[in-house]
Symmetry: none
Subunit: 230 residues, 4 copies
DNA sequence: TATGAATGAGTCTTCATTCAT
DNA sequence: CATGAATGAAGACTCATTCAT
């Protein structure tokens, strides 16, 4: 009857049938983008370009070439649009950043380098990711942060802290590092320059490449600012 | 006749007479906080707590115990309030972070450590600074970033790049670092954890201290994540 | 081709072919309740439970397990649904309340008692009747009142006044009663308590029975509030 | 700062300072109606003429010659307007109907006659009262009924039942009457014809007077429909 | 200085209705 | 028959801003 789905107040965390298929459209059969997907893409683009609070639904509608009423047809409320965005767009990308620690259980430098590289890759693949994350997730007051925290708690963060402490206990990791803060430090170290690079690339105002950005981040990560060659 | 000042559309970059003097009130004569200052403080507090776009002028007025009309008396428009905030609050703090390079011209590690320490000190002294900066200045789409860039250009950034390149040429600084990105990396490395620490402290949910945070940041800065002791 | 019927703007007062026959379905052939009837029942239920103006078509559709578009298939517009409701549901019940006067031509007390009893019986048999009538018919501003007045005029009311005057002339009926107002007084006397009883019964908050309600009404009708026994 | 007052969710039942006085306007000094009062009057008029649910705020605004935004200036929400209406307009009139029982403690017929007469008087004095009461208070689904019940409970109703039972025990009142239902029966007996009379008077379609209506109601009340003279 | 009153321009949301399939 | 998709129009509410006092 109505196509709205998407969780409302964590009623259906990990429900499984997130990507409902509307009848008459065989899964994957059509190259033409589903209108709902188009709306999500448009929302994501505008939200990351101008900030969530600065983007009225009417702007999304206009950009997508539909009426505001249509947005409500697919997403009952603005809040639900945010929830759907988190579930169907943000979380998958976020999930794709996992697994780095398990791949390098005895080598924190490699593990963390792999992690930051995943940040970089994901950010480059999804141009909306870094700006949105910085503004709306990393910022303590970010509009998505609260929803995400409420929905997905702190499990992941705590798991990471366990790894870090373990490495510190084994003497593999700088003992002055605070496990509680390493993660967010790395986010900042990585995503902020990534976001700037993307911005610069978009405006053609840099000659930098993502490879050089990767090297920059890895360098800082491995040895800090000082020149270890010397 | 009306006390409004502050630039509109960067008409008066570095105007000089920032702190206008209202008639009848001799400079420095009153200990009681000036109402205009109170309004700026309140605005800063709310803007940093909830984000600029999420804070209507009426909220600031209510919090400060005045009417919205009063806000317009002091700051003709919302935009002007932002400009005044930048001029009279943000820029001075920002300026207080300068000078680290000049103090350690031949020791980049000390210079950068001093710089991040200034970040930390300023953030702790002005609780509004870190959250506001992350959300509204560092974010490429931040509401203050555009005004600031328009007003103060990139001089400072370029000056920093000169220092960095010089140190790299002298072999004192990790050559893989991109001068263009070092600054923003350090901001992220520093301000993000600072903001989180402040948040945690406010909610009493951590036992961390700012000293340990300083050590954490300095450690990352000096040697990255790996354990140099080993 | 389309099953819509029911008058629009009283175009077809007493049209006669009310119960249109849809092709392919022999009259009386199916025991299963006709979908159109289901929709009317659902509409009636919701309209009487929440008021007409408070009930969107989508609520009726949802409750009936169909789409809003289906409602329009059966009833071209909201207005038409109201007209059909009046024609096919309200008027038959209303008609079933007639005949009391003719049955007791020389005994007004019996006639009016019979009339109120018919009110009670009909209200109990059709739980939607009393609430809907009070709110949407008796109220001078009721949404149904205007349609009904426009459609069926005042013939019945006038006929009743003739009876009443006759009884008064014969000295059988309290001469202080205004013929013009007796009817509506009796409606109020009866339907208001009936509606409340139904409400109370639904919420289980009373021990009263419809028998006692009948007695209550008959008592008021026959002798007013005073105790005639004494 | 903002003139809104009026209770929100019974926070201030019987608060006392209902009729806030705005500074600069000495109480009672001006003959010109206060704008807030004008808005309340207009709302009352339209609500009673067309029903609450049928009356958008914009209609009230237009009728009062102001913008819809102004309505929100005085009454933060539609709900609050309803609450203020109940507190400042409905309850006072309602209260003016009390006291009949205490004045005739040993004579139920006089007491109830006095009560219905108060209904009539109040209804004639406040033309909005009867229609609004029937549609929005007496109707079990009425929009005001729920608010009023929630706010003022059933104390009054229960007090009345005590009187009625007492009179019945003393043999002064028809024992077949249900105390629980007498009140609502009387409301119906009285207000419905009152509302109709007002309607008829407005449209000039009757020659009836309020005196004859009073007599009609008193007659029914005292002796029911039958002719006691005979 | 200060504010109460007022409003225009939006923003989110609902809903009856249409129409191609 | 039936519905998914879509929308115009309207409704409640917010907010920055203005202005007379």
């Amino acid at each position: 009857m109505s196509p709205q789905n998407g969780s409302k107040n964590s009623e259906k965390i990990a429900s499984g049938d997130q990507k409902r298929r509307r009848p008459g459209r065989p899964a994957g059969a059509s190259k033409s983008v589903d209108k709902r997907d188009l709306l999500l893409d448009t929302a994501l683009k505008l939200f990351s370009n101008q900030g969530i609070a600065q983007t009225p639904l009417s702007a999304i509608a206009t950009e997508a070439g539909v009426t505001p009423a249509m947005l409500h047809y697919y997403f009952k409320t603005r809040e639900q649009l945010l929830d759907v965005l988190i579930d169907e767009r943000y979380m998958p990308v976020r999930a794709s950043m996992g697994g780095a620690f398990e791949m390098h259980p005895n080598d924190p430098v490699s593990a963390l380098t792999a992690l930051t590289q995943k940040f970089i890759d994901a950010s480059l693949e999804h141009p909306w990711f870094a700006p949105l994350w910085i503004r709306e997730v990393l910022s303590e007051t970010g509009l998505l942060k609260q929803r995400i925290d409420a929905r997905f708690g702190t499990k992941e963060r705590e798991a990471a802290q366990v790894w870090i402490r373990k490495w510190q206990d084994e003497g593999r990791l700088n003992p002055d590092i605070e496990p509680e803060f390493l993660f967010i430090s790395l986010f900042g170290l990585t995503l902020l320059p990534v976001a700037r690079l993307q911005n610069d690339l978009r405006s053609g105002s840099t000659s930098l490449t993502s490879e050089r950005l990767s090297r920059h981040i890895a360098a800082l990560l491995k040895s800090g600012v000082s020149n270890r060659e010397s």
